[in-house]
């Protein structure tokens, strides 16, 4: 499995609501903090691994190229990888293969996000993740996906919202000790979370991580080099990632199988056979409080539906049996998307070296797992890090298949030249005694300063798009005009696909033909949404729902009508209410809404 790879340095900026610094300046601050933490300079870096989430947040098309100089990429091989919200943890995977392959001995890993640029709200950039033809006409916002997933998770397992809210409380309390944190709060209570504004039921404001600006960087090095940089490298023991279908309404919304697949890949590489025993700390992705629990189950650290009671019982606390998000996570430290993911790897680095200060998990943890989630809400990215590397356990055998580790003392090809570094055979470096920067860079602007900053400018995204329906959806829309719901059948897996597609993404074969399905279905999950994408109030609220159409294997996103919010239940039988024939336009809105089913027919 290639050369062993270790993290040898880490740095980050403050996470703030509105940063004075440009994205480049944020990236540079984090990168130089990481280099400084292990006493390297840019001259020591062979390659740069860069990541940032959607361009539309910073408002810079080809953001990777824009950020490259702040990431130290001038004159070096560099590429930006991108898997949406999973990007920050994926950067660690990218760093691993860049170094394990032998391409670079020392790599700088940088993640940046500046979400404050997007006006009036970064959610505007998210609207295009919804299907332009089938979903966007319904007026969706990003909260729908989370609310619909959270409701189904809570309902299927009979969970108490209080137990989920303890995650937000834990993380904001943990973050109170983090010098970079935006929303650390030592005295927050579950009651505060439960009393916060309902955005899209069951999601309330304090269930959600904040929009943030910030950057994080790591330095990684190959075996034989890492030991010369620090006497306490933290090894990347396993990496994994996995994608589910992009048809999010067709997914299992209760259990993130793609996270489990990614975790199995990483655990297998790391030789972890009993995750609950062998993983000592976890940094699961927590943009919403329930997501941390969802992901802990996906990481196979708790049985399905059992993470909430672990949260309630204190198991996930910093002094609990399985500390989760000791950093404070996205809910407490902040959520500059890609940077927040890489922050989780930085936290494992600091925790496993015993350098996390007041955040330090007791008991000298030796192995941790970090995870993030993203793309079209379908990717899981997982990294296992440990102080022992692959020296023990099942993976030790596989490492012997790789190249022989170079003698750390030799000056052969790929050796690191660090001017004043003492001979590693005798040196006890001072690096390991360092603690994370107590005064991280990054200056928060007040709202007034942000509006009035000299030289600041505002520009619209001056582009309009026209999206074709494509073949399958075009046929589906024609059916709607005739008052019929159409799917496509796949004889490979036996599914009837709604929304229809011309190929089956599982079997990777052409679908076989059109099938008319029922105009009735079952509510798989629903939300009561009180805000639009720009956070303006909606009155009356919308009732988005994922509906399993009878006679199909798919779920369809639409809205409910002719029903009071309090009367909707998961499992409710519903039926299509069509627009009048003369008013139909061949649009998803030819279905006016779904209403509770009335008798037979």
């Amino acid at each position: 499995m290639g050369r062993r790879v270790a993290v040898v340095g880490a740095g980050m900026t403050r996470f703030v609501r509105r940063a004075q610094e440009t994205g480049k300046e944020l990236a540079w601050e984090a990168a130089r903090a990481a280099l400084g933490s292990c006493e390297l300079t840019l001259d020591d870096i062979d390659a740069v691994c860069l990541t940032s989430a959607p361009d539309a947040f910073d408002g810079v098309h080809m953001k990777g190229e824009y950020l490259s100089e702040g990431a130290g990429a001038w004159g070096k091989p560099c590429i930006r990888t991108y898997v949406g919200g999973g990007s920050g943890v994926f950067a660690g995977i990218q760093a691993w293969y860049t170094v394990a392959s032998g391409m670079a001995d020392v790599a700088l890993v940088v993640a940046e996000e500046k979400m404050s640029s997007a006006q009036p709200h970064p959610q505007g950039a998210f609207l295009t993740i919804f299907d332009s033809v089938l979903e966007r006409p319904l007026g969706p916002n990003l909260l729908w996906i989370f609310a619909l997933e959270m409701n189904r998770y809570m309902t299927v397992y009979g969970l108490d919202k209080r137990d989920i809210a303890t995650v937000a409380v834990k993380n904001k309390r943990n973050a109170a000790g983090h010098p970079s944190a935006l929303l650390g709060q030592a005295d927050i209570t579950v009651e505060d979370v439960l009393a916060s504004e309902t955005l899209a039921w069951p999601v309330q404001r304090l269930d959600v991580s904040p929009i943030s600006d910030g950057a994080v960087a790591l330095v990684v090095a190959a075996e034989g080099v890492a030991e010369r940089i620090t006497d306490r490298p933290v090894w990347i023991e396993g990496v994994g990632w996995n994608l589910d279908t992009a048809y999010w309404t067709n997914r299992d919304l209760v259990f993130p199988e793609y996270v489990a697949n990614a975790a199995r890949m990483a655990y297998d590489m790391a030789g972890v056979t009993e995750p609950r025993k062998q993983i000592h700390i976890a940094e699961p992705y927590d943009p919403f409080d329930y997501k941390e629990l969802h992901h802990l189950e996906g990481l196979l650290l708790f049985d399905k539906g059992k993470a909430p009671e672990a949260a309630r019982d204190g198991v996930l606390n910093r002094d609990g049996d399985l500390p989760s998000c000791p950093s404070g996570g996205l809910l407490g430290v902040g959520n500059p998307i890609a940077a927040a993911g890489l922050m989780k790897l930085a936290e494992l680095f600091w925790q496993l070296r015993g350098e996390a200060g007041v955040r330090q998990v007791p008991g000298s943890p030796e192995r941790g797992v970090a995870q993030a989630w993203g793309d079209l809400m379908q990717v899981g990215t997982v990294v296992v890090m440990g102080t022992e590397g692959l020296r023990r356990g099942a993976a030790a055998g596989s490492s012997s298949a790789g190249p022989t580790p170079p003698d750390p003392g030799s000056a052969g090809p790929g050796s690191l030249t660090v001017g004043t570094r003492p001979d590693p055979g005798t040196a006890v470096t001072t690096v390991s005694a360092r603690t994370p920067p107590v005064a991280p860079a990054g200056r928060a602007l007040s709202d007034v300063e942000f509006r009035a900053a000299i030289g600041a400018v505002e520009h619209p995204v001056d582009a309009r798009y026209e999206w074709d329906t494509g073949v399958a959806v075009g046929g589906f829309l024609e059916g709607l005009g005739e008052g019929r719901l159409l799917g496509r059948s796949c004889s490979g897996c036996g599914r009837v696909l709604v929304p229809p597609r011309m190929f089956c993404e599982r079997c990777f074969r052409g679908t076989d033909g059109w099938v008319e399905v029922e105009t009735t279905g079952t509510v798989q999950t629903f939300s009561v949404c009180h805000v639009a994408w720009d956070m303006q109030p909606l009155d009356p609220p919308q009732l988005p729902a994922v509906i399993a159409i009878d006679g199909s294997d798919g779920g369809l996103l639409h809205v409910l009508g002719e029903v009071e919010p309090g009367e909707v239940t998961i499992g409710m039988a519903v039926e299509v209410v069509w627009r009048n024939v003369g008013e139909r336009t061949g649009s998803i809105l030819d279905i006016a809404y779904f209403r509770p089913r009335r008798g037979e027919g």
Partner: protein, 160 residues
């Protein structure tokens, strides 16, 4: 399965946009640069002593060696035209009433060029390498914007 589209206007399509605008802060170096431009009418660059490079406009770090920089080098107002283009159409391809000349100029004291309009191209054909001078807006009209510079005006002679 794939059909040739012969009547593009009849293809069913959904119009849309990404409904965001962006507010860009100029950053630490940018704030110093724009304050000096507005209040003093001077163009500031940043010198990296280690790399022996002067960046203009000013930057907060050296992209080559990562050193922290300050806006410590006043550059211009004279400079050299590194390249230019004459635009006849706008971004949507529509004909402009008057062509607009854009140029890259390396100001005296700087090693890097930056983009602005070229003013009064007039009768004499522009030449790469010729001397240009920065023209500023009157102080009372300056707001702390790159448009506080009206543009580069060609002057007699080639740049040294």
């Amino acid at each position: 399965m794939l059909e040739k589209i012969t009547l593009p206007g009849e293809v069913r399509r959904w119009p849309g946009e990404i409904p965001v605008r962006h507010r860009y802060t100029p950053g630490r170096a940018g704030e110093v640069f724009f304050t000096a431009l507005r209040d003093g009418g001077v163009i500031l660059g940043s010198r990296c002593a280690r790399c022996d490079v002067v960046y203009a406009p000013a930057r907060s770090f050296c992209e080559r060696c990562f050193a922290e920089l300050s806006a410590d080098a006043e550059v211009g107002p004279m400079g050299e035209l590194v390249s230019f283009t004459i635009a006849f159409v706008d971004v949507d391809g529509a004909q402009l009433d008057e062509p607009v000349v854009y140029g890259l100029a390396r100001l005296e004291g700087a090693d890097t060029a930056f983009l602005h309009r070229v003013l009064d191209a007039g009768e004499e054909p522009l030449e790469i390498g010729q001397r240009v001078e920065v023209v500023l807006r009157p102080e009372a009209e300056r707001t702390g914007s790159i448009l506080d510079i009206e543009g580069f005006r060609p002057v007699e002679g080639s740049a040294g």
